[in-house]
Symmetry: D2
Subunit: 137 residues, 4 copies
């Protein structure tokens, strides 16, 4: 009966399939545990900006979604209230991986952190970091 039950990996993957924007970007859930999520987007020419690396909005999507999914794993259905993102280096590589985790889950919201890495020739490079507040619905 508790309202604090997080969603399961299966339900998150179903939600992902119904999130047409996540589908458009080809977002994949790599790892899932309570309070921690790893998600991935493969590089594609149509996800780039005019300098030729992955668009900041794709990175923003990963921070936003990674934090929301990590929160959902603990507290159930959520929406993003706010996030802040620092872009540290060009997002160049075969794929981007976002590691997100819940720092504090409260009654009404969770505060989460996310780091985004570009993977190129097997090397990981930190390209962005963010903080988000995710509200329970």
């Amino acid at each position: 009966m508790s309202t604090t039950t997080g969603i399961s990996r299966e339900r998150l993957e179903q939600a992902l399939e119904h999130s047409t924007f996540a589908q458009l970007l080809g977002a994949e859930l790599l790892d899932f545990e309570p309070g921690k999520v790893r998600l991935q987007v493969h590089s594609r020419p149509d996800l780039c900006q005019h300098h030729g690396y992955m668009h900041g909005a794709v990175v923003g999507f990963m921070v936003d979604s990674g934090c929301a999914w990590a929160a959902a794993s603990l507290v159930g259905d959520v929406v993003t209230s706010e996030y802040k993102l620092n872009l540290l280096a060009p997002a160049l590589g075969e794929r981007l991986v976002c590691r997100s985790e819940v720092l504090k889950a409260g009654q009404r919201q969770a505060v989460c952190r996310a780091d985004v890495f570009a993977i190129k020739d097997g090397q990981e490079k930190l390209v962005a970091t963010g903080l988000a507040t995710i509200a329970r619905v």
Copy 2:
């Protein structure tokens, strides 16, 4: 010879045509003047999240790009350093419009503000607001 010359509307529209991600979202430049830009994205089912309204990452794209374009209008080629976004209401409507402006343009960067409105049945509603730091390349 000044390095502070902003780009013209024509060059911004060319850059937009070469930004495949902006094309993917169907982003359009509505208004352009030095330090101020208005851009638009039409609602489409594939730009939504699982609750059925426009995905926060589309709103994030608009804040990020709107601020970058407003900065570019004053200082030329730019990249986004960081941004912060508060989502205020569900992004429901036929289209989203982002109004962005430069608050301070310095030697190395510009700080910009953006508001995103959802337009539904001719009514505008503020759905998000953000602040961004845009670096000169």
Copy 3:
């Protein structure tokens, strides 16, 4: 009986008198109306940083408190959840004035914006801008 009743100017001034940190900085409430507040801090040598202008933490205090007070004027007792601040210019002048307003007041929180101006020889200059999420207690 409503839980959405804001506090009065009198109660805010009483809370201010009991906020020892606000007293330490000499913060004053200049204007108060529902959803909008103007507050002031006079320059003092002990509020400066090592370059000789007002410390960013004083500016941060003004954004944080100005937003919290604007929210309190609409929704009652509050605490700050998060804020983001861009420092635009050195905070030099006889005094700093912060104008804050509520952008959206919801059931559980209010999102607010604040601009901080330095006043020098009767001239106002924008030195910082911020966004904050203020939670109802």
Copy 4:
């Protein structure tokens, strides 16, 4: 000859002594290594807000200064461009400790992360986290 030389612990402590605001709050440098800093502020009644715990602006000062000092340790004289802060729990305890580190140091700026802990009866509790952009002067 490099312009990227960080300041020494001695110079940082001298700067601290000349930062009257840091003196007013009683800020102390606990640890210092290139790219990482730990700083402390002891609880005092006059640093509290009206609910009786340490004022958010003190926490904000610690995030701002901790990030600036960590950046200074790598790149020399700096000013804070922007920061964002999530307050996670009431700042209750005998003292607050901020751990800050540089995530990325570039030519013109460093991006830093900071966590603030309240220490009470020997127990550490995370009370805030932040991200900051620090510009080289």
